[in-house]
Every structure is written in structure tokens, then in C-alpha cells.
């Protein structure tokens, strides 16, 4: 059933040259210190490894479970149900004039993607120590591969969401075309956080207990259950420092055709990129010690 792993990769299909390693390359191993630049050439050459790691994560995720893809449907759906009852009905949190269920689901889409990426990526190195201690490979790929299964879950959740939109009779505008860009920003931010946490957890094992708490607190600092408009205007730029604030707000603007809040979005985009860069560099800095401490 899973012969598809042997299908040609789109990346290599275009290259007709025979298997050959080209000229002999010289490599020098020596102690390094401080900040270490990212070896983009190495990452590019090993890109197929990333593909196979993503494929593995996706396959394993859906093979091991009884319900398979149903989890990707049920989890955000029930979260939405609970939030709608508690925050929509009981707490009567405003939802920019939309049905609360649709409103909260639109926020849960990027949020679930973001938080599951962080949880998966941060534990990835600790759960696969042999990839650190028994072999050399571009280690950035190990946490990065966790993003793949999150993306599949996100796609499935989108389908459920489309059904809800139809049910509630909410239409979509041309803004949805901006969604891929917002998903990309979410990926950048979650990867930045995930890489840093993965590196921290390899070095300091007890940091893994921080992750669930961090994710939980982060949700309340993000406009998942409440609209950005509920926050006093003078605090909004501060809120936007949280990348998820602008991204979630952007998701709602894109889907529901609400006016865009460009200040919030640009601050959040900026902080997403900063998070990714910081995460990557912290990871690179600690990477050379991984095999010693793992």
C-alpha cells in the first residue's frame, strides 16, 4: 500500500546526469566556537533527506493511530466546540460580528498548526538521539521535518472549516489568496521556536516540562478566543510582537474579508522572521555539542 515512497522525487526527476559525486571534495574538521554560519549548500545537497524524514513522520503519524486522519478532524473540531460553549456562550466574548464557532475555528487553524509544530519539533531530537550520536546529518532537518505532519493536519482542518462556512452561510472573499503566505509565516515562527526548544531540551532535559506550559500561556497571549479589537488600541502593537497575533488576525481578515490591520501584520511578520533567525542560529551554536550531551 505504501509503494509511493519509491516514486521519483520531483526535485531529482529533472536531473538526467548519472549518479556520480563529481570532483573529490576536501573537508576539514576542526574545533569551532561562537556563532556558526548555516551551511546552505549542505542543506541543499541533503534536501532529499528532509523529504524522507517528512514522509516518515507523516506516515508514522497516520499508521500508528486507530482513527488515522480522523484525528486531524476531531481534535480541532472538539476544541472549537468546547471554546464556543465556554468562551462564546458563557463568557460572551465578542467575535467581530461573526458566529463564534466560525470565528474561533478560524483562529484555531493557524494556532493548532503553530502549537503542534512546536510540541513536535521540540521533542524531536530527544526522541531520536541515535540521529545525533550515531551518524552525522544536517541536524536542522530533524526538528524541521516535524512541520510536515502539522501541514497535513492543517489541510484536513481546512476542509472541516470549509464545511462549517457552508453550514453557517459565511462567504469568503479574494483575501483567501493570502492564506499560503500566512501559513508560511506561521511555519517560520513555529520553526524558530521549535528549533530553539529542541536544542535546549537536548542540553537541559528538564526544559521539556516547560513546553506544554509555554504553549498554553502563548495561546492566551494570542487572539485565538478573542478578537484583536478587544485589546485596547494602545496595547495592540505590543500584542503584535507575538507573531501569532498578526497571523491569526490576518487569517480572519483573509477568510472573512474583514479590513486588514497592516500595522499588526507587519510587526508580527517581522517578529516571525526574527524568531526563525534566532532559533536557527541558536541551534547552530549548540549543535556541535549535541553528541557530547545527548
Amino acid at each position: 500500500m505504501s509503494n509511493d515512497i519509491a516514486q521519483p522525487l520531483p526535485t531529482s526527476a529533472a536531473a538526467p546526469d548519472p549518479v556520480d559525486k563529481g570532483p573529490i571534495r576536501e573537508m576539514v574538521i576542526r574545533p569551532r566556537s561562537g556563532w556558526i554560519a548555516i551551511d546552505w549548500r549542505e542543506l541543499w545537497e541533503a534536501r532529499e533527506l528532509l523529504y524522507f524524514l517528512v514522509l516518515r513522520d507523516v506516515k508514522v503519524r497516520y499508521k500508528q493511530t486507530v482513527l488515522g486522519v480522523a484525528w486531524a478532524v476531531l481534535q480541532p473540531f472538539f476544541t472549537m466546540l468546547v471554546f464556543t460553549v465556554i468562551f462564546g456562550r458563557f463568557a460572551k466574548i465578542p467575535s467581530d460580528g461573526l458566529p463564534y464557532a466560525v470565528f474561533v475555528f478560524a483562529g484555531l487553524l493557524p494556532w493548532t498548526y503553530f502549537s503542534s509544530n512546536i510540541s513536535q519539533a521540540s521533542m524531536s531530537l530527544m526522541n531520536q538521539q541515535s540521529l545525533l550520536t550515531k551518524i552525522y546529518l544536517p541536524r536542522v532537518f530533524v526538528p524541521a521535518a516535524s512541520v510536515g505532519s502539522g501541514l497535513i493536519d492543517l489541510l484536513v482542518a481546512f476542509v472541516v472549516f470549509a464545511g462549517m462556512m457552508v453550514f453557517y452561510g459565511v462567504g469568503v472573499g479574494p483575501g483567501v489568496l493570502a492564506l499560503p503566505l500566512l501559513v508560511l509565516l506561521t511555519t517560520a515562527a513555529s520553526l524558530g521556536v521549535g528549533l530553539a526548544l529542541a536544542a535546549l531540551i537536548v542540553t537541559y532535559r528538564d526544559f521539556r516540562y516547560v513546553v506544554p506550559f509555554l504553549v498554553q500561556s502563548w495561546m492566551y497571549l494570542s487572539p485565538v478566543i478573542y478578537p484583536v479589537s478587544m485589546v485596547p488600541p494602545q496595547w495592540q502593537p505590543l500584542l503584535a510582537l507575538n507573531p501569532m497575533a498578526g497571523i491569526i488576525d490576518g487569517f480572519r481578515s483573509a477568510i472573512f474579508g474583514l479590513p486588514w490591520n497592516f500595522t499588526t501584520l507587519s510587526v508580527s511578520s517581522f517578529s516571525s522572521i526574527i524568531l526563525l533567525i534566532c532559533g536557527l542560529y541558536y541551534f547552530r551554536r549548540t549543535e556541535r555539542k549535541f553528541a557530547d550531551v545527548a
Partner: protein
């Protein structure tokens, strides 16, 4: 003079050992460390801080390996072999020195790194292959060969968690054996699988180095495999490179340590190998060969005599003395006991010497340590020294086979003769995967 494939210049690796601490540091430790740093600095000045110890796992090792050479790295446990391989494989970074590698490097420190039990054989071939650094095209090109080498055709689409351990290892090795790097670094992974498969792997390794001109670095405890496969060998001792040269010479050097002081005679009067609660009764041990000379080595079936000097005893009618031999992993292999001798030991009074003569069994070659113990006719040991001394069982071609013997096959070498003859009925013996 060709450019070396591997050039190591003064590589060293320092580890900090924390006493009383266990491996991984926690964030909590970091916080406490920060809080107690001023106090520790004060203690350090007074020289009373002993909580950290520096340990050079590899120290100032330099060597050159020419393209196409097969090099064996040997040494006792903890000599730094694995650390050296990890440095060459880029897994750990050296503390000092540098290595220049010319060509694509692949290392094989574990069989099946990254295998996922839930994935099928086919999926794992691609996953493991790419983890080892193979391109997808290379895997595609060699896929059928890998499958045939591993002999798993029928189970290609079965999750590997349902594989027998033999199948699992065969598949993992098959992927690795089809790597095509210029430099291959291998750590004792041959020590797995059944004998037949090992033979196949050795054949493959020989083919890899001879036929395809690849440089291979091979770490092993198996001196047979090193002498058969490698042209040259490096001997590591406590992190330092102590010998380098033709593999048979280096292997001999390893098996017969010429370090001063160790002669085959062991002074046990004040040895730290005796626990505090024992009396100092066995005060010396000597290992002698058939001609009565002190020796450190014994060939299989060679006569060995061990003499134990006993301190004056308050009359003991027939004490029991045991000598037990342990292999490098600390497992007891055999023991000789005065109680099990056809003629039991007589009564002992005053200072005396007990001696035992026996034939060294054909053990797997390598170093064995022996313990000595003495107990009154019944009851507990009143003296026990572990280890009291050592003896190296030599590799002398006892099996008369061109192939090496692996310690995993068992500790005792048994010469055997094999033959085949046609049988009447052909039996189909196929193990089904459950």
C-alpha cells in the same frame, strides 16, 4: 606521493566528568550552578573543588591514510576508538587539532540508525539510505541489489517491527553495504547477525576496499577480522596512538603488552583489588608456562601453571582455593577449583605456596583476568582478590579457517569438520513471519 584520503593532525577530545553526577545536565543544575558560582570560585582558589575532572578521550592523535587503504583501529575498551571514529564522522567536534578528509564520508557506527519499526522494509531502505547520505537515485539504482543481499524479498512491504532480529540486521547492513562513499568508517557492526551473514559482510567489505578502491576505517575487537581485512592498523591506548603499522604486527603488539612492571607475577599484599573485609592470605600470584617461566600469554591448549603464595594461616585443614577467569566484558568464562581436583589440597599451616596446573582452553583470543579466592572447607571466602592478574589468550589460527571467529558466536573455539551429502527427501524449511 599521493594526497592522503584522511589526514589527522594532533586531534584531541576533552570530556569533563562530573563526579557523582550522571550524564545529562538539567536546566535546574544550570540555575544552581549559577547561584553557587561565587562560592565555587572561592573553593577553587583554595584548591578544594574536586567535582569536575578533565578526561582526554583522545589525545594528540596524528596519522595519514592513503586512498584505498583499509585501516583497523584496535585498543581496549575506553581506549578512545569510538571517540576517534565519532570525530572522523563529524559527530563530535575535536577539542584540538584538525582532520582533513578528501572525498565523501559515510559512517556506520550502528546498524539501522533511523530505522522506524512502523515503516515497511521498502520505506526503511529509502529512509535509512538517505540518513546514511545516499541520494535517492543511488538507492533506486541499487534497490534490487540491496533487497537481494538482505534476502528479504518476500517481506519488502511488511513493517520491520514484524521482522526477526536476523532479518532486521540483514536489511540494515545491506543498505549500508551499498553506500558508495570514498571513505567508509565502520564500527564493529559486523559483530551482529548469524555467521553466514557475517561471512557475506566480510566478503562485501573486502570487495568494497579492493575492487572499488575505497578507503575504509574499521574498528574491531576481533583481531582475526582486523588481520584478515586490514593492511595497516592503529593501536590506541588511553586516548593516545601507541602503534601504527602492518596489521599483524600491531595486533601482536596489542595482544602482548610490553608495559613495564607487568610480567606475570602479581604482588597481592596491598592490592586495591581486595575488598576491605577480606584477610590478606593470598599474597602473590604467578603465571608460568610449561617451562616454568613467567608468562602473560597462553596459546589454546598450552599448559599453564599458577602459583599462589599464602601467608601463614592459623591451621586450616583443607582450604578451598578457586581461580576464576573473566573475559573483557567481565563475564565469568571458566574456573578451576581445588575442590574439583582429583586430589584435594592437603592441610595448610605456616607460609606455603599452592599451585595448579591446567590446559588453557581454546578461548576466543583476547585478554582474560583472573580472580583468586580462598575459603575454609565450607563457608564464605575469607580472601578474595578480583582481579588478581591477567592472561592473554593468543590468536594462533586454532580453527585453521580463513575466516575470523566472532566473540558473539561464543567464548570457546571448537574445531569442526563439515560435509554435505545428498539426502532422500527435500525438506522445505521456511520460517513464516507472524
Amino acid at each position: 606521493m599521493t594526497t592522503p584520503a584522511i589526514k589527522a593532525e594532533g586531534i584531541s577530545k576533552l570530556y569533563r566528568l562530573e563526579h557523582g553526577g550522571h550524564g545529562s545536565k538539567t536546566f535546574r543544575d544550570l540555575l544552581t550552578d549559577m547561584a553557587t558560582a561565587p562560592l565555587r570560585r572561592f573553593r577553587q582558589i583554595r584548591g578544594s573543588d574536586v567535582s569536575m575532572e578533565d578526561f582526554w578521550a583522545v589525545q594528540d592523535v596524528s596519522f595519514e591514510i592513503q586512498p584505498g587503504e583499509v585501516i583497523g583501529v584496535i585498543g581496549r575498551n575506553g581506549a578512545g576508538k569510538s571517540t576517534l571514529l565519532k570525530i572522523l564522522s563529524r559527530i563530535v567536534e575535536p577539542t584540538r587539532g584538525q582532520v582533513t578528509l578528501r572525498g565523501r564520508v559515510a559512517s556506520l557506527l550502528e546498524v539501522g540508525t533511523g530505522f522506524h519499526p512502523e515503516l515497511t522494509g521498502r520505506e526503511n531502505i529509502y529512509l535509512n539510505g538517505s540518513i546514511l547520505g545516499m541520494k535517492k537515485r543511488e538507492i533506486d539504482a541499487q534497490f534490487d541489489e540491496i533487497v537481494a543481499f538482505a534476502e528479504i524479498e518476500r517481506f519488502l512491504d511488511t513493517p520491520v517491527k514484524r521482522y526477526s532480529s536476523g532479518m532486521y540486521v540483514r536489511l540494515a547492513f545491506a543498505v549500508a553495504a551499498h553506500l558508495q562513499p570514498e571513505i567508509l568508517i565502520v564500527d564493529e557492526v559486523l559483530a551482529v547477525g548469524d555467521a553466514d551473514f557475517q561471512k557475506k559482510c566480510l566478503g562485501k567489505m573486502r570487495e568494497v576496499s579492493k575492487g572499488e578502491g575505497r578507503t575504509v576505517i574499521f574498528v574491531s575487537h576481533n583481531m582475526g577480522a582486523v588481520t584478515t581485512l586490514c593492511s595497516r592498523a592503529l593501536l590506541l591506548e588511553r586516548g593516545a596512538l601507541v602503534a601504527e603499522g602492518p596489521s599483524s604486527e600491531v595486533v601482536d603488539r596489542y595482544l602482548v603488552p610490553v608495559s613495564a612492571g607487568v610480567t606475570g607475577a602479581y604482588d597481592l599484599r596491598d592490592t586495591s583489588a581486595r575488598a576491605d573485609n577480606f584477610s590478606k592470605i593470598i599474597v602473590a600470584a604467578r603465571v608460568l608456562d610449561a617451562s616454568g617461566r613467567l608468562t602473560l600469554t597462553a596459546a589454546p591448549l598450552q599448559k599453564i601453571r599458577i602459583e599462589l603464595d599464602l601467608a601463614p594461616l592459623a591451621s586450616m585443614r583443607t582450604p578451598m582455593i578457586d581461580i576464576g577467569f573473566n573475559n573483557a566484558r567481565g563475564e565469568r568464562i571458566f574456573a578451576v577449583s581445588s575442590n574439583l581436583s582429583p586430589t584435594p589440597l592437603g592441610s595448610v599451616t605456616g607460609a606455603s605456596t599452592a599451585s595448579v596446573t591446567f590446559e588453557m582452553p581454546p578461548l576466543y583470543p583476547g585478554r582474560y583476568e583472573f580472580d583468586v579466592g580462598l575459603m575454609p572447607v565450607s563457608g564464605r571466602y575469607i580472601d578474595y582478590v578480583t582481579p588478581a592478574g591477567q592472561i592473554e589468550v593468543l590468536h594462533d589460527g586454532y580453527l585453521q579457517s580463513p575466516y575470523p571467529y566472532f566473540v558473539e558466536m561464543g567464548s570457546v573455539l571448537v574445531r569442526s569438520r563439515w560435509a554435505t551429502h545428498p539426502s532422500e527427501t527435500k525438506q522445505e524449511v521456511e520460517k513464516e513471519v507472524s
